[in-house]
Amino acid sequence: MANVAVPSRQPVPLRIPVREIVPWAIFAAALGLVLLYFVGAEQGATSIISGHAVHEFVHDGRHLLGFPCH
């Protein structure tokens, strides 16, 4: 029998080590939560900044992205 070189299965996809991901995950989660809070909830259910400016400015986006607005 000829010794046929069988190509190994598909190359195993690279796994990024969890240790390498975690610091970036924390950063992205913190940033993401702050950003989403301002689009989704500020000056609606809770207010950090007084007034209605943030709420009124993102008003249409808040409605259309699916958040309760008022």
């Binding site: 990024i16 995950a25 993401g32 989403l36 259910a45 400015f57 249409d60 986006g61 958040f67």
Partner: protein, 247 residues
């Protein structure tokens, strides 16, 4: 590596927001305008004065809307790249493009579609001022429970895959997700604050528009990020020599 994935995720989120704005402009804004005219007619009939405007409608539907979409897109673009980094090589032997598409599909369902089924989005004039607190809490709780259930389902699927095979393990995980989410749907209190005389057509079209906007965001994340991530990962594979430079 992670740095370049995260940056690409956020940039793709920005691109997603621009595309979503086009959809929002053509599908969403006409319905918002109709809902606002209903609100104003009702206020006038009730003898209430015109609400003091902080921003004009023009500002709200251009700069305001695009800002909201960009902030949302960048936030989820970043989070998406993290989810992708965890998923790649761990949910099966998929390449970067397939992984990104799958993560986007699951993200769209978990973050938006499942909460949407319980608490669908409402246009202006729908929803009482007094319940905004509880409605916001319920909506965010629903997103959180949906994400938690998704994480458990993915974990279950990975656990079962060696025994059942990839297809059956995926089916089992999806089945478990549906069962748990059904229980959550039944337990969580319902909200129905649509005024009796509000146009059913406007409500339906508004909710479809919202779905289309979110679909645009997640489809762009999945497809565009996959293409960019492939280049990043292939670059790493090629450069994986003893003297590879750390990112």
């Amino acid at each position: 590596m992670m740095r370049s994935l995260l940056i690409r995720g956020m940039l793709v989120g920005l691109a997603a927001a621009v595309l979503a704005y086009v959809v929002a402009w053509f599908l969403g804004e006409p319905q918002v305008a109709l809902a606002i005219s209903f609100e104003e007619a009702r206020a006038a009939a009730g003898g209430e004065g015109h609400e003091a405007e902080v921003f004009s409608r023009t500002v709200q539907e251009t700069a305001g809307l695009i800002t909201a979409l960009v902030v949302y897109g960048v936030a989820f673009g970043g989070l998406f790249s993290i989810a992708f980094a965890f998923a790649h090589g761990r949910i099966g032997a998929f390449g970067p493009r397939t992984t990104a598409a799958l993560v986007a599909l699951v993200g769209f369902a978990a973050v938006y579609v499942v909460p949407y089924l319980k608490y669908p989005p409402n246009p202006p004039a729908v929803g009482s001022e007094d319940t905004i607190g509880s409605r916001t809490t319920l909506y965010f709780t629903m997103i959180l429970l949906s994400l938690l259930t998704t994480a458990l389902a993915v974990y279950t699927g990975r656990l079962l895959a060696p025994r059942l095979g990839a297809w059956n393990a995926t089916l089992a995980a999806v089945g478990a997700f549906v069962v748990v989410i059904t229980v959550v749907f039944v337990v969580m209190p319902g909200i129905d604050e649509v005024p009796a005389d509000f146009s059913a057509t406007v409500l339906w079209r508004f909710r479809l528009a919202s779905l289309a906007i979110q679909f645009t965001v997640w489809a762009t994340l999945g497809l565009l990020f996959g293409a960019l991530a492939e280049r990043v990962l292939n670059g790493r594979r090629a450069a994986e020599t003893p003297t590879s430079v750390g990112v």
